[in-house]
């Protein structure tokens, strides 16, 4: 063993990595966003197109796969970095565009700015992402590297000062790491916002030699993909955070609990662990010190409740993921009965940054009570969907209208759903609520894991609650009576309402039951399951009433309360599009040549309405489902 100082060892490693990465930058590089979202949009095809085109032209350029660039609305995305030009990001790529970019930009000198989204470095010719409203509000801390580094090459991370926080920490006492994280007031990003430093301290105080560090990457929310994107795009950041935590609390073994449904994340993290081990950043005597720590992946099998700490531990021990009552907290008795620190992916990702830049820097971002940033997956009826990171304290209005670019087609905003199945729906009046743990909680929603769905006038709030209840009811582990039976009853009531059934008492009973389930459940799945109902009842009670009292769905969504109708004055006799579009052959031609829908056969799939040419727009939805009186008789 060498007597080298960890910092010297690290410097050497860093310089070598940088030299290697720099040497690559001498020739043009094409960085393609191939996180799961990109792949789904066809990024692998785009990659192959680039490789083929470059080969055909005999150019000297490298195609690199990077993670999530964050501008999901424009997938597939690529960044082209050519010496002499600012790196430029292109979106909506297809074979034709790839051909053009290779020919004109890589082969020639025309960056084809008309197809570019933005440049990535300040320059005199083309705006950068920072020049758009989104860039003004966005502040990337843990997403900084995402989409710009090769997740499967450790040098890519090291050359950007990666693992320097670890090297620095190793020259100090473990206590120093803990103090820094505590001073930064880093709150857990799993949803509840418990200070990470206090959790770590409790684990230290529990004593003993065997302790565990576990990273919770069991992201189960439908519509949330932040954790996956970080693990796919920048796995070393999370790994470094876990090593720092292990050093602080004196742990030798850690696990990453990753959903098996995220095969790409599992593969990237496994590669990252192997490479870190090779470099002596994991395993025994890390960076030449006496500190030993190793990591393994545990693949979660997909159960939403396993996001709960005690359920996650049960599942790692080979049991059903059922939560236990706390205390004892995991910090005193966790995995294998030993003190355990369990934090979310994002929480660990902040740790290296805090150690590197200091607690004061971290606290200068965000609000006093919730320092740092918030990461959201912005989806639904919003122009620029994607992965965004904004400082805590940004208002929802800024997030949706400035960062997200507002609603497409000038539609009216109706609600925003935050926090997934455990969160709530907030109306227009709540848009000025600042985003932080406490303010959102007061408004009735939660920070949760960071899923954010924007809804407009075409979305029915009752149907949305029913959707989330379907999810929580299915995912309830069945341990607590209130959660097991209560969610089922709430769901049944909601299904009834969407069918127009119910009476004046229904809403009162629903609200009462929702409160009982909230109070009578052990873990947060049950305690928060009624949130979608409680918030929609609070802000959108009229919609519930319209369903029950008038048998009408104002958003024209609930299929039992609408029917499709072809307006005879608008229908053209010369067109047959709707007939062909109908999957159940419910549309027929009347004797007078106009089209009509056989209501018995209609499954209300909306196909004919979409198919009807815009110059006619003859297909309409009616609620309540009553056919207008037949005015004109078929001409004999």
């Amino acid at each position: 063993m060498s007597s080298n100082n960890p910092l010297d060892l690290y410097r050497k490693m860093h310089d070598e990595a940088q030299a290697r990465i720099k040497s690559k930058e001498d020739k043009p590089q094409v960085l393609i966003g191939t996180a799961t979202c990109g792949v789904a949009a066809g990024a692998l095809q785009v990659r192959d197109d680039f490789v083929r085109e470059i080969e055909e032209k005999g150019l000297d350029a490298e195609v690199v796969e990077v993670g999530c660039i964050g501008h999901c609305y424009a997938e597939p995305l690529a960044i082209i970095a050519k010496p002499g030009f600012p790196p430029v990001c292109y979106g909506y790529l297809d074979e034709g565009l790839v051909h053009r970019l290779v020919e004109d930009f890589l082969g020639g000198d025309d960056p084809s700015y008309e197809y570019a989204l933005a440049a990535l470095e300040r320059n005199d010719v083309f705006p950068t992402f920072e020049d758009f409203p989104r860039g003004i509000y966005e502040e990337k801390l843990i997403l900084e590297n995402c989409g710009f580094i090769d997740a499967r090459d450790i040098d890519s991370y090291i050359s950007r000062e990666g693992y320097s926080a670890l090297a620095t920490a190793l020259t100090q006492e473990p206590q120093a790491v803990l103090e820094e994280v505590k001073a930064a007031n880093l709150r857990g990003r799993g949803g509840a916002g418990f200070p990470a430093g206090l959790k770590w301290e409790a684990a230290i105080k529990s004593g003993g030699n065997e302790k565990y560090v576990i990273c919770n990457a069991d992201e189960g929310d439908p519509g949330a993909f932040m954790d996956r994107s970080i693990l796919e795009s920048d796995p070393h950041l999370v790994i470094e955070g876990m090593i720092l935590c292990a050093y602080a609390i004196g742990s030798q073994m850690g696990y990453l609990y990753i959903r098996a449904e995220y095969p790409r994340a599992v593969r990237h993290v496994q590669d990252a662990i192997d490479q870190a081990r090779e470099r002596g950043l994991l395993g025994s005597s890390i960076l030449g010190t006496e500190f030993d720590f190793d990591l393994e992946i545990f693949q979660g099998s997909g159960a939403f409740v396993c996001g709960e700490a005690t359920a996650l531990i049960s599942s790692m021990e080979g049991r059903m993921g059922m939560p236990q009552s706390r205390p004892p907290r995991l910090a005193s008795r966790g995995f294998r009965g030993m003190p355990t620190v369990l934090n979310n992916v994002k929480t660990f990702a902040y740790v290296p940054l805090i150690i590197h830049h200091g607690a004061e820097w971290f606290k200068s971002i965000g609000t006093e009570e919730s320092p740092g940033t918030a990461v959201f997956s912005l989806v639904g009826k919003v122009a620029n969907t994607g992965l965004v990171e904004v400082p805590m304290g940004t208002s929802l209005r800024q997030l949706i209208y400035d960062v997200g670019g507002g609603l497409p087609g000038n539609r009216d905003f109706k609600a925003v759903q935050i926090g997934g199945p455990s969160g709530g729906c907030l109306p227009e009046s709540a848009l000025d609520v600042p985003i932080d743990f406490d303010s959102l909680h007061q408004a009735g929603a939660i920070m949760g894991s960071g899923g954010l769905v924007v809804m407009d006038q075409d979305d029915c709030m009752v149907a949305v609650s029913r959707y989330f209840l379907e999810f929580t009811q299915h995912e309830s582990c069945g341990k607590c009576t209130f959660c097991r039976i209560g969610t089922k009853h709430m769901l049944d009531t909601l299904v009834d309402i969407t069918q127009g059934k119910g009476d004046t008492e229904t809403l009162g009973l629903l609200e009462e039951l929702a409160e009982d389930v909230r109070d009578g459940s052990l873990c947060n799945l049950g305690r928060t399951a009624p949130n979608p109902i409680l918030t929609t009842l609070r802000y959108f009670k009229d919609e519930y009433k319209a369903h029950i009292e008038e048998g009408r769905c104002p958003a024209l969504v609930c299929r039992d309360l609408i029917l499709y109708y072809i307006e005879p004055p608008k229908c053209s006799k010369l067109c047959n599009v709707c007939v062909g579009s109908c999957p159940t052959e419910a549309i027929f031609t009347r004797e007078d040549g106009l089209k009509e829908i056989d209501q018995e056969k209609c499954v209300k799939c909306d196909n004919c309405r979409k198919a009807c040419p815009t110059e006619y727009n003859a297909v309409v939805k009616l609620s309540p489902p009553v056919l207008p009186p037949q005015k004109e008789k078929a001409v004999k």
Binding site: T36, A41, Q299, G318, V379, C605
Partner: protein, 182 residues
Amino acid sequence: MQLLEGEKELILACVDEVLSNNSKNRENLIPILQKVQVRLGYLPPLAMEKIAEGIKVPPADVYGLATFYNQFRLNPPGKHQVKVCLGTACYMAGGDITLESFERRMKIKESETSPDRLYSLERVACVGCCTMAPVVVVDEEVEGKVTPTRVDGIMLALNEENDKSNLEQEPEQGRMDSDELK
């Protein structure tokens, strides 16, 4: 579901192999189930019994795990697997209508496999491409903005492919990518 000819032997051999490569303790139960599923494509009752025997836990515990976690499937995957995304964004864009259309065309319900094992239909939580909602994954290919008409188109293409391969050979069963899991 009826076992096919030779499937029993395949199951026994697979379970044996996985059990002999992993230490037989409770903590390894979920990883073992995962590995068997990767090889067989699903968890047949026989496999669960054999695993329970190997790890020395009651078969009910193994069945409990297999039904508790969404990842495990008790039905063999069809030759063509269709997964309909019902994440928040897809649901709001009409994912349930797409699912219904598939149910109608395949004549099976969600999470079932057709008796000839040609098709299986599943709902999944989120594929991660919410901008293309509603999304379906047909044999690992992602299809975006799927309408009932597109469902008919997909089914037509799959049927045609089946007719072709029927002429050439018997469909392969229990195909798997064994390098996904070690």
